[in-house]
């Protein structure tokens, strides 16, 4: 069945489809449709009680008193074994960074949605992609990573949210769904899925009372000499497996392209429109659209043609640009076009830039 949803609603519906049994959030524009949708649609949200037994996915919805409380409620719910999610936008995500670090350090699964807006500071409520560094470079303290997934359309927002819950549980890591205000607000038809959850939801490490077993402890504090290093090495081993197995990207016209545009999320949609105009004028332009921003897909950048050039497009002043340069390793030219603070590079600007490069 197809229904018309905004990106924000699709993320919320995807979470419910994935068996999200706990949501806590705090209002902030432009993601308010997520918290409203969860309040309305989470089963038994009015009772505020989650019944996890017998496969009943009834949920808990809490409007928290702050983003700090929201992310720490997600920590608690995840520690208790629930599939837990929160959502916010840039300034709220900044407030959550300490909690995200604790979630990563305690090896808890969680889904965190960031519908980015302009910054720094209070910024504005226009779409932006300027939280890329924060999302992909462990925005809180310590050596950790989130899996970061960047949908480019409403259907993908719905699908990747479900994927996010599975990845979070499979690897016991926090997963971020990184969108922007345009994706959150625009409406498109969404094919609802009937697929089942692919990973086991049995969590032998979770807190539910130590009946018939030794007590479980959820912690990220390791004071004994060497213990914290051991805990970090365990995380790094997990990250290495994720880097190997969980990169995702879309490639278009890579075999004949002379200039390859590199863009994610909303920016990639504008890039596709520019490409279709340029190709109908006979220009050989391709696209790499990273879907996982961490782990960043390196593989599509190993193009043999030594004259190929890359043009990175972002709604920021050059953040993913650094990952593209690392992937290209100085072997090819990398150009950049970016705007931020609510500015979005237009098709025309992209076409003009491509013509200069060609």
């Amino acid at each position: 069945m197809k229904i018309l949803l905004s990106g924000n609603e699709a993320i919320a519906q995807g979470a419910i489809q994935a068996g999200c049994s706990f949501y806590a959030g705090y209002p902030i524009t432009p993601q308010n449709e997520i918290i409203a949708y969860m309040a309305k649609h989470m089963p038994s949200s009015r009772t505020g009680v989650c019944r996890t037994g017998k496969g009943q996915s009834q949920g808990v919805f809490i409007q928290a008193e702050s983003e700090l409380a929201a992310i720490n409620m997600v920590y608690g719910a995840s520690a208790a074994g629930a599939r837990a999610m929160t959502s916010s936008s840039s300034p709220g995500i900044s407030l959550m960074q300490e909690g995200i670090s604790y979630i990563a350090g305690s090896q808890l699964p969680a889904v965190i949605v960031n519908i980015m807006r302009g910054g720094p500071g209070l910024g504005n409520i226009a779409p932006a992609q300027s939280d890329y560094f924060q999302a992909t470079r462990s925005g809180g303290h310590g050596d950790y990573h989130l899996i970061v997934l960047a949908p480019a359309c409403v259907q993908e927002a719905y699908d990747l949210t479900q994927t996010g819950f599975d990845l979070a549980d499979r690897y016991r890591v926090p997963v971020m769904i990184l969108g922007d205000g345009i994706l959150g607000q625009m409406m498109e038809p969404v094919q609802l899925s009937t697929k089942k959850i692919k990973v086991s939801l049995a969590k032998s490490w979770a807190l539910d009372g130590c009946q018939g077993r030794k007590p479980n402890i959820i912690k990220s504090f390791f004071l004994r000499e060497g213990a914290l290093e051991d805990a970090n090495l365990k995380l790094q081993k997990n990250y290495a497996i994720i880097q190997q197995k969980e990169t995702r990207y879309e490639g278009l016209f890579l075999s004949d392209a002379k200039v390859i545009l590199v863009a994610y999320g909303t920016m990639a949609r504008i890039a596709k429109s520019a490409i279709s105009q340029l190709r109908s004028a006979g220009k050989k332009i391709g696209l790499i659209r990273p879907i996982s921003l961490w782990p960043f897909p390196q593989q599509p950048f190993s193009i043999k043609n030594s004259r190929v050039k890359y043009l990175v497009l972002e709604m920021s002043y050059g953040q993913m640009l650094e990952d593209v340069r690392l992937a290209v390793g100085g072997r090819r030219e990398v150009e950049f076009l970016g705007r931020s603070g609510g500015g979005v590079p237009s098709e025309e600007q992209i076409i003009n830039k491509v013509k200069k490069i060609l």
Partner: protein, 242 residues
């Protein structure tokens, strides 16, 4: 000969890391005795704070979680909502509950979360080396109030228990002390009441425990107990607040 005093099942047989004369060991034991007496060890989930008691789970023999500094009641709220059949409590110091975590404390109380809170008030930051706490008394010297707490510079000792008693979601608040064996027994009765309230779905319960910190009060263990009786209890009177 009959054994009349033994280790609780809810406490591990391990050496303590607390300073001589510290109140945490007594308070940990009181919680463990209550958990044993109510026969809820296999249903209990404790939340350890950031502060001296961060490794409370090294002493308690039941499920536990850490929480970031001040966020214990946000973590506890979620755990209790996910597992309403379990008994969930937080154990927090004055800096954790009444400074950095004031917001979480007030809102969990105001939502009437069905939780039990063990609030250790020793009027000082212990783990970080004896700085001014929200509950530090006027005139009390700390490493960040060298001449003593002064109302114009540092404000007044925060009576968070009296503040929380105003909220309709709060079921029970009592202030107790570890100053003498009779007071310790009263403290245990209050903790038991707070746990029983949760088991009976009555809502938010908090026990504030005036607890000695000889190390950062610059007093001997005996002098610390006397100071609680002669000075601290005058600022923080004992008894049922709600």
């Amino acid at each position: 000969m009959e054994k009349i005093f033994k280790r609780c099942q809810s406490l591990y047989d391990v050496p303590t890391h607390y300073c001589p004369g510290c109140g945490h060991g007594i308070a940990h034991r009181l919680v463990a005795e209550v958990v044993d007496e109510l026969d809820i060890r296999e249903k209990t989930i404790g939340i350890a704070p950031v502060g001296c008691a961060v490794v409370a789970y090294d002493y308690w023999n039941f499920d536990c979680s850490e929480a970031a500094h001040g966020r214990a009641l946000a973590v506890a709220t979620a755990i209790k909502r996910v597992h309403p059949q379990n008994v969930v409590f937080t154990y927090q110091g004055d800096g954790d509950l009444a400074a950095i975590g004031t917001n979480e404390t007030i809102h969990a109380a105001n939502r009437g979360e069905n939780l039990s809170v063990v609030f250790i008030n020793n009027a000082v930051y212990g783990m970080t080396g004896g700085q001014l706490a929200p509950t530090t008394l006027l005139g009390q010297k700390t490493s960040t109030s060298i001449e003593g707490r002064e109302k114009k510079a540092h404000g007044y000792p925060l009576k968070i228990s009296e503040m929380l008693a105003l909220l309709p979601g709060v079921c029970y608040i009592e202030r107790v002390s570890l100053q003498s064996p009779p007071e310790v027994l009263k403290a245990k009765r209050a903790i038991k009441q707070a746990f029983e309230n949760q088991i009976n779905n009555l809502g938010f319960s908090l026990v504030e425990i005036l607890s000695p910190c000889p190390t950062y009060w610059g007093l001997s263990p005996k002098e610390s107990l006397d100071w609680i009786r002669d000075v601290m209890q005058k600022e923080f009177p004992l008894g049922r607040i709600k």
